[in-house]
């Protein structure tokens, strides 16, 4: 998945035109004609601008102090300030939302990974009656649309008085995080050679011992990927959080951000500033882990 190691493997550029006129200097495989290279750079630059612009625009708008500045973006240059940021940090529930978001996301992550770890190992190594059915259940649970569980969950949680509580939201998120982590971890355990298990058994370890002493230490990257992914998913979830969290100090960011725009008032400048404050740490975190994340996601998908 790394983008740098491929240099040597001369991955074939599709765009290099083998049909180009016989070159004087022999072009090596994977090298391109200057025109092709220019075209590649052109397309990639345009694509990068499209990818970058909405985010950059949000940052730019967040610097405009008035709530209608987004309609007159030209005027922001002259009166740019950080007043929105200081207002958001001092006079809104920003830190409450931060706390709720972290509690809910971290809770989901920890529970999800802890519960899913042994199962991922079991379905990676063992065949037992009901194996296929179990895998099918894991797969189907992941693709539940939010609409399936929302109504019954709402009813059940109100019976248990868990609406508007962190625990309720964590439980709801676990219903998708647990099967997802189990899949992801199965994909990772599949990449650990079976010879290690066999060696463990020869030395007299039970399957639990093999798992705990040999496999688990080797599987740390896989566990990390499952954790990252559960965290990011729980952090960005909108539907359940918007419905189940009622008091504004318990909102997660996904809900809190919506409160800036209501029917009566649209404080878009504050909203933009909050959005930027949320986006910066999350994106930084994402960029730190993205290489592992991508490998993990596709490892679950391509092997096994």
């Amino acid at each position: 998945m790394s983008t740098t190691t491929v240099e040597s493997s001369a991955a074939a550029g599709e765009r290099d035109s083998a049909a180009a006129a016989p070159p004087r200097r022999v072009r090596r495989r994977g090298e391109q004609s200057p025109a092709g290279r220019l075209a590649s750079h052109g397309i990639l630059t345009v694509a990068s601008l499209i990818a970058f612009f909405p985010v950059a625009w949000l940052i730019y708008l967040s610097l405009g102090p008035d709530k209608d500045d987004y309609l007159h973006p030209g005027g922001i240059w002259s009166k740019m300030s950080f007043s929105n940021y200081s207002f958001v940090l001092q006079h809104t529930e920003f830190f409450d939302w931060l706390k709720s978001s972290l509690i809910v996301s971290l809770g989901t992550t920890v529970i999800g990974v802890l519960i899913a770890a042994t199962t991922g190992y079991a379905v990676s190594r063992m065949r037992f009656p009901g194996y296929r059915k179990f895998m099918w259940v894991l797969l189907v649970t992941q693709m539940f649309p939010v609409a399936v569980l929302m109504v019954p969950m709402y009813q059940i949680l109100s019976d248990l008085q868990l609406i508007d509580s962190y625990l309720g939201l964590v439980l709801v998120y676990c219903s998708t995080a647990v099967p997802y982590c189990a899949w992801l971890l199965k994909g990772y355990f599949d990449t650990i050679p079976f010879e290690i298990d066999e060696a463990g058994r020869v030395d007299g370890l039970t399957p639990f011992g093999t798992f705990a002493r040999l496999i688990l230490p080797l599987a740390k990257p896989g566990l990390a990927v499952a954790a990252f992914y559960s965290f990011l998913t729980a952090f960005g979830e909108v539907a359940f959080a918007s419905t189940f969290m009622l008091s504004d100090t318990k909102y997660t960011f996904a809900v809190g951000l919506q409160t800036f725009v209501s029917e009566h008032d649209a404080q878009r400048n504050l909203m933009a500033a909050t959005a930027v404050l949320i986006a910066i740490p999350v994106s930084a975190f994402f960029y730190l882990v993205q290489k592992n994340l991508v490998t993990g996601l596709t490892a679950g998908g391509t092997k096994g």
Partner: protein, 334 residues
């Protein structure tokens, strides 16, 4: 040995000797597999409590006329008991065939199909194109890649608001269109442009995942295959058609399935882009949410019925997809 490591074959082996009695078999099976069952027990229990029970309860609710006026609720200190009653399959009949069922269900159904097909097609083609471009020796490749995954890195609920500012009446997109003397559609008001905007935003959000996965697939294709193809005089297009595409098949079948499921279930983009203002641009998921939580009185029974129908559609689709892949002798891993 108790635990058979036979992942390679995917078959249980050795335990199909002359069939002993049922009790005997259960006992043997238990002795042989209790490790496995003990290890999957936590997930099985969690799924039973958090998924199966609500699912069955939801299924029961769809057979009633429950809404927010007749379910059990507590107002202050008064507890009001539930008064909804069992009405059989009437909800499903009403949704699928009742009067105005076209407006309520089928129009959303068709739009959901169109939305899923268009979005996934766009995700895949743009993602593949960018992956091919990034899979060359090119200066600044890592830099491009980092910029291009930005839409994935920033949480969707943040970027959708960014798009809302841009698409608003006097937002930057319409300012730019005005400067170019092009018509300025009211993106967030008229149905067609709402749908257009939704697809555009979702495409923007979804391309990076496809791009990165396909790039991983491209890099795992053996370079010697390209050499061999070139030796045999294959043109660039032929190399793409007969080496790259087959090499990507396993990654593609997985990411396309994931893409379809995610897009079909996509809640955040449409919900946050339009809120309750766009009844015609709602896909089934957000429409079910609207029925259950976006209106007064909340129609729990119908919303749950939509949920069950959605799940049925997804399950049917996935099993056909798997069967189709199996017929083409491919393994779908996820």
């Amino acid at each position: 040995m108790t635990v058979a490591i036979d992942r390679a074959t995917g078959k249980r082996h050795g335990d199909r000797a002359p069939r002993p009695g049922l009790g005997q078999r259960l006992k043997q099976s238990y002795q042989k597999h209790w490790y496995a069952y003990a290890m999957i027990a936590p997930v099985a229990i969690v799924l039973g409590v958090l998924v199966l029970y609500p699912l069955v309860y939801g299924l029961y609710l769809t057979l009633t006329d429950a809404n927010s006026l007749n379910t059990a609720r507590t107002i202050g200190v008064n507890h009001i008991d539930a008064t909804y009653k069992f009405i059989g399959l009437d909800n499903y009949k009403d949704i699928l065939f009742g009067p105005t069922s076209y407006d309520r269900f089928w129009s959303h159904f068709i739009w959901t199909i169109v939305w899923t097909a268009l979005c996934v097609a766009l995700h895949y083609t743009i993602g593949l194109g960018l992956a091919l471009l990034l899979n060359q020796k090119l200066r600044g490749r890592t830099f491009y890649r980092l910029i291009l995954i930005l839409p994935w890195a920033v949480p969707t609920f943040v970027t959708v608001f960014g798009w809302r500012f841009m698409l608003a009446d006097g937002g930057i997109i319409n300012i730019a269109l005005d400067a170019l003397h092009l018509p300025q559609p009211d993106w967030l008001e008229s149905t067609f442009w709402q749908r257009f905007a939704a697809i555009m935003v979702n495409t923007w959000c979804g391309v990076p995942f496809m791009m990165v996965s396909l790039l991983g697939g491209l890099q795992s294709i053996d370079a010697s295959l390209y050499e061999a193809a070139e030796m045999d005089g294959a043109s660039a297009w032929q190399r793409f058609r007969y080496v790259t595409l087959p090499g990507l098949r396993s990654v593609s079948s997985t990411v396309v399935l994931l893409g379809i499921i995610w897009t079909f279930n996509q809640f955040a983009v449409i919900f946050l882009l339009f809120g309750n203002t766009a009844p015609d641009a709602q896909i089934l998921v957000t429409w079910a949410y609207y029925l259950g939580f976006g209106q007064q009185p909340r129609d729990f029974a119908q919303s749950a019925a939509y949920g069950i129908l959605l799940l049925a559609i997804l399950i049917v689709f996935t099993s056909f997809y798997r069967r189709w892949l199996n017929r083409n002798e491919q393994q779908l891993a996820i």
